[in-house]
Each structure stands twice: as C-alpha cells, then as structure tokens.
Point group: C2
Chain length 191, copies 2
Amino acid sequence: MVTAAGKQRFLDAAIRLFARHSVAGTSLQMIGDELGVTKAAVHHHFRSRQELLLAVIEPVCAELLETVEAAEALRGRHARAERALTGFVDVVLGHRELLPVLTGDPGATELLGSHPGLAAVTGRMIGLLAAADPGPGPGGRIRADIVLSGIACAAAPGRNDVAPDNLRTHVVDAGRRTLGLRTPRPGRTTP
Amino acid sequence: MVTAAGKQRFLDAAIRLFARHSVAGTSLQMIGDELGVTKAAVHHHFRSRQELLLAVIEPVCAELLETVEAAEALRGRHARAERALTGFVDVVLGHRELLPVLTGDPGATELLGSHPGLAAVTGRMIGLLAAADPGPGPGGRIRADIVLSGIACAAAPGRNDVAPDNLRTHVVDAGRRTLGLRTPRPGRTTP
C-alpha cells in the first residue's frame, strides 16, 4: 500500500534533486539513491521524471488557482491586481525550494508550458496584473511577466539573506511599483 | 588548425542544445550529433560542457562589464542607473537565445555563480540599479534583482510576440518604474 506520506518522500527528494541538477540531470536512479531505495521502487510510484515533476507542481498550481479566483471575485482592477500580486508572492514564498525548477529549467519549461492547468492559471494571473494600469499595446502584459518572473527568481533560496517577512514586504513593494499600484491604506487591505 | 569560425560553430550548437535540454541534459555527444561530427572532435576543442558554457558566456560577460564601466563613469546616481538599465537591456536583447540558460538552468547557475568575472559584474550592476532610489534596508538590491531577472526571463525567445524595438521600450519602461527612475527628457538621453 502506498501512503500519502510515502509518496511525499519521493516528491521531496525529487524537488531537492531537480533544483540541484535540473530535471534533465535527475534520473529515477538518483532519486532512489537519495532515499536509499532501488530505482524499481521509485518507478513503482512514478513512471518517469515527467510524472514526478507534474506531481510536484500540482499543489503550486492549485494554490495559484485559488489566488486567481479570489482576485477575480473582487470589484475594481486595482483591488484585483493587488490581491493577485500578494497572493502570488505568498504562493512563491511557500514553495521557495521549487523556484529554480519553475523559473528557468529548460527541462521543466517545455513540460510546464504544455501543462493546461498551469498555462491557464498563469494567463489569468497576467491578465489581472496587466489590468492594473491598462493601456494600448503589450506594456501591461510585459510588466506583469517581469513582475512574476522577477519575484520568482529573486525569492529563490540562497539568492539573498533577507528574512522571509522582510522579503515579502520588499517584493510586494517592487511589484506594486512596476505595476503602478498604490500601497493600500491600513485597514483597507484585502485579505 | 582551429579557426575562430570553427569554434563558433560548436558554441552556437551548444547554445541551441543548452536552451532546449538544459546544460545537464546536453552531452558532448549530442553536440557532435547536432553538427555531424564525432564526440572526439568536440572533445578536441572543449574538454567538457562546463568549458563550453564558460566560452558561451564570455562575450555576455565582456559586454556587461563594458556597460557597468560606462555607467560608473557618469555623474549622478540617476544617470548611472539609467545607463546601467538601458545597457543591460541591450546586452540581453543581443543574446536572447542564451537567456534560458542564464536565468534559471540549475546546471548553469552553480557554475555561473562561481564564475568570478560574472559574479563581480552582476554585483556592480545591482549596486548601480539599487542606488537609483537608496534607502535603509535591502529594498534597493531586491528591486534591482527583480529588474535584472524579470527582464532576462521576459525577453527569452518565445515568451511573447512583441517586436524587438517595442519590447526594448516596454522592458526599459518597466525597469524604470520598479527602480523609481523618470523617463529621460528627449535630447538628454545618455548614449
């Protein structure tokens, strides 16, 4: 019987190895070695590293969807963009160890780009952020892309020695500046 | 005899394969296959993919250094940050095919992080951008990191269908917003 905790051990090991060696540089054998089990034991749960990668990003995708739905339910483009930005930062800071894989690993990018759930939720997130300061042309979407990618890169482990709370304040502030959002007044912050 | 053009063929093939399969997923054999030569022929010029990666980033590193030195020679923190930002964008747009490797490939990140030239020039670039809006705490450096990473991600090939000139305008504008730089008045733009 495969317990959820048993599966999670494989996912945690995969995240560590993907971040260190990239997806293409990680074999099921290496994941087995990391956990002291055979490659066959890994293969019993996950047929390929692609299947592992998809299982690894599933919770991130679900949290992003929750954030996007909460933002889309608000009224006003500024409130929606603010909710999307702060929610995105919280998802990112909750999965810091995964960021090197999500932001630029070529072995992951192709697979993640073709993941219908992740592509759709990212598109809705970009739409919410771009609408903060709408205008003709692609400026809003380019700013949104820079904010999402830049924050995901800057929050990766080892990138700086700023404490998580302080990092959250500064990356949200940077995102607001880029997108043209004002700092919300105390007491009017959306949850 | 090895001509410069001969070496460049290997570098171009390496860039294509690194971007597609990540550094860890690219073997000297694959580079040989791409060019229709033997692995031994590749190995004759480059002993490892690490050596190839270093040769590939050498011109980027040299151009970033030129930009940083030109910016540091100016007077005034705004003029210096503006010069560093626009110079960085030009370097990035001149090497778009390399961006997936530079921004997040875990196999490249470790090696590039330990490259003394690239680490030093990146540190000076972050210092120039952070000084645009100085203040206590790490906010300036975090904004600079988000600008550099975000632009390098957003300008990667296939990320959007915006024409290069238009893309340049929008990413420079986004960088100025994040850093707190005004759009320079026409005629006063630094070269």
